[in-house]
């Protein structure tokens, strides 16, 4: 039968690692952004108060946007922050995926199936979001 404590530890480890890794990227991007004296650093207040002004320059709406901004030389520091935010958003999904595998390996087919259903619904929601 299952070993719930072990499964809980696996999920906890993923959430901790995912959270810390994401926050490191978020903070790293912010620090580089501020240190580089980015031309817009002084305009943060204006940008966050005016959605359209911000949208054109700073807001990434797809992984492709983030990737292109990271591929620039030098990379856009806000893209590093955005990548960190994406990693944060994906962390709970990884937790569910790990739960599905851990329940399956421990022989708990019911909860392997339940985790699989949750995972499938999450993937469906991401697909719906990507389809617009």
């Amino acid at each position: 039968m299952s070993r719930p404590v072990a499964i809980e530890r696996i999920i906890a480890r993923i959430l901790t690692f995912g959270g810390l890794f994401s926050i490191a990227l978020v903070l790293g991007g912010l620090v580089v952004y501020a240190a580089a004296g980015h031309p817009q650093a002084r305009e943060i207040v204006r940008v966050v108060h005016n959605r359209e002004a911000g949208r054109a320059v700073d807001v990434f709406t797809s992984l492709g946007d983030v990737w292109r901004a990271l591929a620039q030389r030098p990379p856009d520091p806000l893209a590093i922050t955005a990548l960190g935010l994406v990693c944060l958003l994906v962390t709970p999904v990884l937790g569910v995926a790990a739960a599905a595998v851990a329940f399956w390996r421990s022989g708990d087919r019911d909860y392997a199936a339940i985790s699989g259903i949750v995972l499938a619904m999450l993937v469906l929601s991401f697909a719906l979001a990507a389809a617009g």
Partner: protein
């Protein structure tokens, strides 16, 4: 406001929201969205984007600690998440078909009733043992944790599983229809219907809200509502607050957490009724 002051103020506010969210099982949106829009004057869409990031950050920070101490119950969480996420998907599909104001009014009245019944339970530290629910036995919806405030192990088992599952589906449906978070409803369903200890309800809600929010996070990201400069200090602050919140929560009594939860429920009830009546709130 200077840029540095804005980022610092956002960080400080988020530490508070993360701490409160970790203790009460909420994402923090109920606190963050009004503060970001009213006090900081931030665009509502960016505030909502930052809120969804804050829910996941709270969940990652708090659930990891609660899972290690067995306060979060993975089985109960995953079992109920099936209801919430499917409810949210149905709700998103029905958005625009069902009149939201009527729903908000009905929801507000239901919450007002729940606030009154929760008030009557204020002194209940742990629920009385009840007859075993066959579904709870079938799916292992039970557990045990060490209660630091009571200095003893507490065993519990869910009851009225069908009602709890139905309430979770309803919570997901409303969150999909109205675009609101549903941490408070999750806590309410586990505390009220399934008669789980309050700490287990809020800790398990913390585990669940990360998963349910991830389901809608993609939509917010694709819409361009997640602005790095707003969401970044919020994410960091909320994570720090959640870590402190989990440490504090372990030492609190169930009755204390319930007392702190009642005003949140009351506020939600009032804001939903007002929105249902067409009186706008952020």
């Amino acid at each position: 406001m200077s840029p540095l002051l804005l980022v610092t103020a956002l960080f400080g506010t988020s530490v508070m929201a993360g701490g409160t969210g970790a203790i009460l099982g909420l994402g923090g949106g109920i606190l963050l969205i009004p503060i970001l829009t009213l006090f900081f004057g931030i665009d509502l869409h960016y505030a909502m984007g930052a809120s969804i990031v804050s829910v996941i950050a709270t969940s990652s920070g708090a659930a990891a600690a609660y899972l290690r101490t067995s306060l979060s119950n993975v089985r109960i969480g995953l079992f109920l998440v099936v209801a919430t996420v499917s409810g949210a998907l149905v709700g998103a599909a029905l958005a625009g078909v069902v009149p939201p104001r009527l729903l908000q009014l009905l929801l507000g009245l239901a919450l007002a009733y729940s606030t009154l019944t929760t008030l009557r339970q204020l002194r209940v530290e742990l629920p009385e043992p009840t007859e075993a629910d066959p579904l709870a036995l079938r799916f292992g919806l039970e557990g045990a944790y060490y209660d630091a405030a009571l200095d003893r192990d507490v065993k519990y088992r869910a009851t009225r599983v069908r009602s709890g599952f139905g309430a979770m589906f309803g919570a997901g449906l409303l969150s999909g229809l109205l675009g609101i978070g549903s941490g408070a409803f999750k806590v309410l369903a586990m505390d009220h219907f399934m008669r789980l200890p309050m700490k287990v309800s809020t800790a398990t809600s913390n585990f669940m809200i990360g998963i349910t929010s991830a389901a809608s996070a993609g939509i917010y990201f694709a819409r361009g509502d997640i602005h790095p400069l707003v969401a970044a200090p919020v994410a960091v602050g909320v994570l720090v607050g959640a870590v402190f919140g989990t440490r504090l929560m372990a030492r609190l009594r169930n009755t204390t957490i319930r007392k702190a939860f009642v005003p949140v429920l009351g506020w939600l009830a009032v804001s939903m009724i007002l929105r249902g009546l067409g009186i706008g709130l952020p």
